[in-house]
Symmetry: C2
Amino acid sequence: MPTTDHSSPKQSRSSGEEVLEKFNAKVGQKIEVETVDGLVTAGIVIPRYEHADSEYIVLKLKSGYNIGLKADSIKKIKVLEMASISTKTEDHANKAPTSERKNLLLLSTGGTIASRIDYRTGAVHPALSAMDLYASIPELDEIASIDTEVVFSVFSENIGPKEWQILSEKIIQRCKEKSPHGVVVMIGTDTLAYASAALSFSLIGNEMPVVLVGAQRSSDRPSSDGALNLKAASAFAVNSHLPGVYVAMHETENDDYIAIHSGVRVRKNHTSRRDAFESIDVPCIARVMENQITMTGGRKQGAKKTSDSYKLKSKFDDAVALIKFYPGFDYSILDYIGKERKVKGVIIEGSGLGHISSSAVARISDLTKKGVFVGISSQCIWGHVDLNVYETGRDMIKAGATPLENMLAETALAKLSWALGNFDNVNEIMLTNFVDELTPRIPLSQD
Amino acid sequence: MPTTDHSSPKQSRSSGEEVLEKFNAKVGQKIEVETVDGLVTAGIVIPRYEHADSEYIVLKLKSGYNIGLKADSIKKIKVLEMASISTKTEDHANKAPTSERKNLLLLSTGGTIASRIDYRTGAVHPALSAMDLYASIPELDEIASIDTEVVFSVFSENIGPKEWQILSEKIIQRCKEKSPHGVVVMIGTDTLAYASAALSFSLIGNEMPVVLVGAQRSSDRPSSDGALNLKAASAFAVNSHLPGVYVAMHETENDDYIAIHSGVRVRKNHTSRRDAFESIDVPCIARVMENQITMTGGRKQGAKKTSDSYKLKSKFDDAVALIKFYPGFDYSILDYIGKERKVKGVIIEGSGLGHISSSAVARISDLTKKGVFVGISSQCIWGHVDLNVYETGRDMIKAGATPLENMLAETALAKLSWALGNFDNVNEIMLTNFVDELTPRIPLSQD
C-alpha cells in the first residue's frame, strides 16, 4: 500500500490520515503508538471531526480521555486489534445510510430498554411502536425502516427455555416472510447473555444478523444507555451482512463506542455499570461508533461448516440444570435432580480446571449411567477446563463427565437445552463447535 | 515536601528520582505520566537498577513491556493508586531483612504449591520441611526464620467448612504459643478464595498477618509461579505488621510483582493463568516486588471496630448451600435443601441486581419462615446487588431475602458458615462489615 496519495485533489489527506494509512491503521482500531521520543501509548483511533486539527490523530485511552498525537512525532504504529473485513461494511454505514434504505425487524421482549425507551422525556412506553421509536430516537430513521413487534413483555429473570423457543420461532417465521436486512431484539439484561447463547444455536442457518440489546439504566436517568445501544445494534444488524447472533452494549462507561459481542462468548460481569457486558476469552467482534462499524478480529477462526440437519432447530428442553460447586458441596443435590426431577442434562460449574470434591464424583457416575449428560465448565469464567491434569479430574472423566473446554457455563446450559430439544446425539453436539462457543487455548507465557 | 534535596552527598539523587519525588510518586505505584509533548501513558514505576540510566524513570505497562521516560520530558505525574502507610514497612523490607531476623510460621495444606515446591530440580516433595524449603528457595532464608508444619495434605476441592475450622484452630494455637511475626498458608488454588474468606472471619482478633498462597503451575514447568508467590507472601507476612488475612499471587503474567489481595475480596478468575486471582470492586491491598512492599490503597475505609465477642471464633457450620440461579431455574431445589437437607442458610447467586424468577420467590418465603437465612449475591461478580429497583427484587425482600450488597457469593458462603457456627444473630452478623467484605458503591458516571 502506498504511504501517501495526493492524486485526487478532492480527497487530499491530512498528515493525520497519512500516518494512519502508512501503518495500515484505521479509525475504530486499537493501536499502540510509539513517538520519536520513545513514548508508547495505546488507545482507539477516533474519527477526526470538522473542527479538529488535521495534523493530529486522536486516541481514546482506556481511561476514557482522548489524547491528540502530532502526526510528525509518530515513529511507529502497531495495530493491536486487526480490522478484518470491514471496508465494505464501513462504506455502507458511512456513505449510504439513506440512499439504499434498509429494513430492520425490531422485536421487544421486555426489560428496561423496552419499557422506557423515551430517553429525552422520561415517559414510560411499555408497548412499542415504530412511531414511538422514531419519536424518541429520531436518528433510527436514518439507519433503517423499522418494523416492530412485541413478542412478550417480561423481566428477563422470567425468560427461560420456553421463551427462547417462542422467540426463535418468531424470528425464523418473520425472517422468512419479510426478509429484513437484520433483526434487533430488545431484552432485559439479567439473562440477556443466556438468551443470546440460546438463539445462537436455534438460529444456525438464519441468514440475517440478529442483535440482542438491553439497557443498564432506564431512560429517566441522565446516564441512560438504551438509545445509543439500540442505534448501534440497528446499524450493525442492517449493515454488517454477518449472519449470527450478537449482543450490542456499551464497551466503556462513556457514550462513545458500542461493542458487538459474539452471542455465545459474552457475559454480564457487573450488576449496574453500562459497560457490564464483556467478551470472554476473545476480543469483541466489532465496535460501532457514530454508525461506523469496525471489525476487531474477534472471530478469527470462524465457525464450523454446518450441515442442514443443524439448521433452524428451534426447540428447547427445560429438563436441564446448572449447579455451581462450592466447598462442602452437598452432592445429594445431584441425586435429587437426577432421580426426583428427572433432568436429562446438567452443567456443573467446577472449581479451577473444573474440579468437584472427590466425594461428589460417584454421583456423576450415577447420573451418566442413567443417560444424564454431565458437562463441566469452570466457575473461574475465563480459561479452559482441563480434567487431565489432576487425579480428581481424571476420576470425573472415568465417571462419565464431559469437560466443555472454555464454553461459558451460561452458554453450556443454553446449548444443552437446545441439544436435548432437537437431537439424540447430545454428547457429540455438545463437543461440536458451531458458533465459536469453543475457542482455542491462548498459549500461556513461558510454557 | 521539597522537590530536591542535595544536602547528603551519599544520597545524591538522579533526575529520575527527583521527578518522582516532586510529584510524590514512589516505586511500585501505578502512575499516569504526561510529557511536555502532551503524551499520556500509565504504568507501574519499577526500581532503577545499577545498570539503568538514572536520567529515566521506568514504567511497566499493562502490556507487560517496560518503557523508559526521560525525566526532563515529564510535565506531570498523577499517582493512580496512592501509597498509604508503607514507608516503615518498606524500610523493614529493604534495609533490614537479615539484621532483625523475623519468624515465620509456614503451614501446608496441600495443593500444587506444597506438593512440588522444588522449582529448580522438578522434584516432588509431598511432605514439607524447613530444610526442603531453604534448599529449593534459598532466598527464603533472607526473609525469615521459618517454622513449618503440615496441617493436612489434600487438593483444595476437598477443603470445606470442617477443614477451615481445623486450619483456624491450628493458626490460633500456634500464634499463641510461638508469636511468629506472620503466618503463610500454602493451599491449592481451586478453593483458595473461599478459604481466605473463611479465615478472614475466624481470625478476627488474631494479631499476625496471615497470607494464603498457591501456585497455578507446578515447579516442573518453566513457568512455575510458586517460588515467587511464596517469597512475596513470606515478605508481606513478616514485614507488613497488618493483622488480617490476605492472598499473595502473581498480578500479571510476568515474574515481577505479586499482588496482595484482601482475603474477602479476591476471586480466581482464570482456570490456568498465573495472574488468575483478582481483587473485586477494590484495588489490591499491596504489591510486592523484590521483597519491597508498596501499599496501593486498597483498604481505605478500614474495617469496623470489633468487639471481643467476635474474636477468634473458629467454628464453621456445614449446613449451608450456594445456589446459582439460571433461566428455567428449578425452584424445587430450594424446597429440597430446606426440607430434606435441613440447611440453616443458603446464598443465592441471583442475576443482575440479584433477581431470581418470580415463580421461585415463594420458595424463599417458605425457607425464611422456617428460620433459614437466605442471602442474595449476584452472579455478575462485580458490583452491588439492589433489590429495591424492580418489582421482583421488592418481592424477594418481602419474602425475607437478605441482599448482601457487594459481598462475593464465595465470601458470603464462608461468612454464613462462620456466622451459623458461632452466633445466634446470623442476620445481623451477615450485614455487619467486619473486614471489608462489604465496600461502598463506586459512584456511577453521569448519575
